[in-house]
Symmetry: C2
Subunit: 353 residues, 2 copies
């Protein structure tokens, strides 16, 4: 068993820490990269800790919520980040040292870690061993990680697709959207996506196999765009954006339709959320609007990993990533999510040496 040596080497540890709580759109100045040091061993006395060298940091919209200061009692998916402390999110890494029986030095893992070069993980139940090392490791920040599992659970378990269903996916070229669209195609659905640039719309149609797509920024009337692309209405709307797009989709749902509410990125930076005015449509059309988060579905990870890695190997699911290099690039990559600057899954690659 490793851990606890007195003479462990120390290493530089660059970290992205929160400089101030955020109101409105986040900026690069809300965080800063600071340099610390880390001992390259699990501290003496720890019996179930894992020291991870981070290889890929995942940039995900849900981090925005944790950058705000919430009033006590407000429901949040996870506690607020603390000013002066390192940001936390999913990532991919390599085990350097471990006192946990399930992990040993050299293991490749994904799970919750810090936005830093090395993280001492004291709750290794949030780490998963990477079984398919023949695939790009970075996929475990996306299609094979939290976003992929989110779609798998949300689309299959909450959306319950049937062959021939008309599916609409917003933020469709992003980490979640691109997987949602491709799983919908595998399920035999007709799939339309929306995205925020012509380049992304093109990706949807040519790379990800969407049947149709539109650039929501160049549409005057979102409801009309939906009616044009889905004249018979929507059976499943996989919602990543909320706001005006959700409102337009509600008008256009078919009887018995499902709105799978995965995220509302259009709302995360608003002082007051937009009002959704068309919710009444769910009564005559018996529509189910269901929120979900990946937390409830971690137990299905193994099944998911096997199925999704199979799809990738068969070419049924393809991946587009937007990779920046080095932890100094992380703040801009995170901030860019909220203007849609990323094309595909946004992640940060750290040196592997």
């Amino acid at each position: 068993m490793a851990g606890g040596g007195e003479d462990a080497a120390a290493a530089r540890n660059k970290m992205v820490v929160l400089k101030r709580h955020v109101t409105g759109f986040p900026t690069e100045e809300d965080v800063e990269v600071v340099v610390g040091t880390v001992r390259l061993q699990v501290p003496a006395g720890s019996t179930s800790a894992v020291l991870v060298k981070n290889l890929y940091l995942s940039c995900d919209p849900w981090m925005r919520g944790r950058m705000s200061k919430h009033d006590e009692g407000v429901t949040v998916p996870a506690p607020d980040f603390v000013v002066g402390q390192t940001l936390v999110n999913f990532g991919v890494g390599k085990v350097i040292d471990s006192t946990h029986p399930e992990f040993k030095a050299g293991d490749l893992v994904w799970g919750m870690s810090g936005w830093e070069e090395y993280t001492l993980v004291s709750q290794p139940e949030s780490l998963f061993k990477i079984n398919h090392t023949e695939l790009p490791l970075s996929y475990y920040t996306g299609v094979l990680g939290m976003p992929g599992l989110t779609v798998y659970a949300g689309f299959m378990e909450v959306g319950r697709p049937k062959r021939g269903d008309f599916v609409f996916v917003s933020a469709a070229s992003g980490a979640v959207g691109q997987v949602a669209g491709q799983l919908a195609k595998i399920a035999g659905c007709y799939v339309v996506g929306s995205a925020g640039s012509d380049e992304k719309v093109d990706l949807l149609k040519t790379k990800f196999g969407f049947d149709d797509a539109f650039n929501y920024k160049s549409e005057v009337d979102l409801a009309a765009a939906l009616k044009r692309c889905l004249p018979d209405g929507i059976d499943i709307y996989f919602d990543n954006v909320g706001g005006a797009t959700l409102d337009a989709a509600l008008l256009h749902m078919r009887h018995g339709g499902r709105v799978v509410v995965c995220g509302m990125i259009s709302q995360y930076n608003l002082e007051e959320p937009d009002g959704v005015r068309n919710l009444f449509c769910i009564i005559p059309k018996a529509v189910r609007v269901e929120g979900f988060n990946v937390g409830g579905y971690l137990q299905m990870y193994s099944r998911f990993e096997e199925q999704m890695s199979g799809y990738i190997k068969e070419g049924k699911v393809v991946v587009v990533e937007d990779v920046v290099e080095g932890i100094e690039s992380a703040p801009a990559a995170l901030v860019g999510l909220f203007s849609g600057r990323n094309v595909g899954k946004q992640l940060v690659a750290l040196p592997r040496g």
Copy 2:
């Protein structure tokens, strides 16, 4: 077989007809009572029509939608009423003449009929025979009719209550709300209701067995009222009103909670619906918001009628009705729904002689 006689008696037939399509709150001047005549036999040549003498007309909020003129292509639960034609809704009546094999003169029925003294029902599939004539016939406009079946389907099938669940019902003393609260108590839930007067709040607690209740008109902060009455949150919100009450309830749902969206009476008279701002809460708390209407559940009517009539006989479900007499009183009774003037199920009794 009856029907078709040349020498059938004619009778006076007073009818409530739409005078003009409605914008905003309906008024008594939007409809008028006109006097016609009716032959007291099914016309010659009809092979499946039923002539009904109406005994009770049901006043239900959903009629408001049909009083508007909707643009083509807008989803509505039922077609707009036509100016100059009789309003249509559920009612209770007695068969006078029938050429339909399942109905004969003297049968007591409930179902879709006109707001008039006699209705020739040409689609008798929307009529149900009344099996429990030992109970007040008027109950078939409420607890044993469409509102009762609505609750039964919505609360049991969509809400899926578990013993110990915390349940909130809005418009709780109305036709639907009073049944929802009592079914929730039978299911072993803790039940809180909101209503629009102290008299109604008193009814909820003393007559219908709600555990707690509040007058939404005298609360400054609906979210605070919910927190006071349901400090541990809401598992099932049975929504009859939409708008601000729905928004407050969304803030206060428990993980895995269900919002059963049955109606949105607060919204029916607005030019533009209120925006619901707290929908994002459904993501971290994995809340299901499901709209439904009774149309999908008519096949469970027999099972429902047996169960509900049993509850009534055992005293487990009690009924409060607000009955006005005579068709001339119908317009005011209908309009009064939207200011909450009614206490309990609003209906109109017509002469039985």
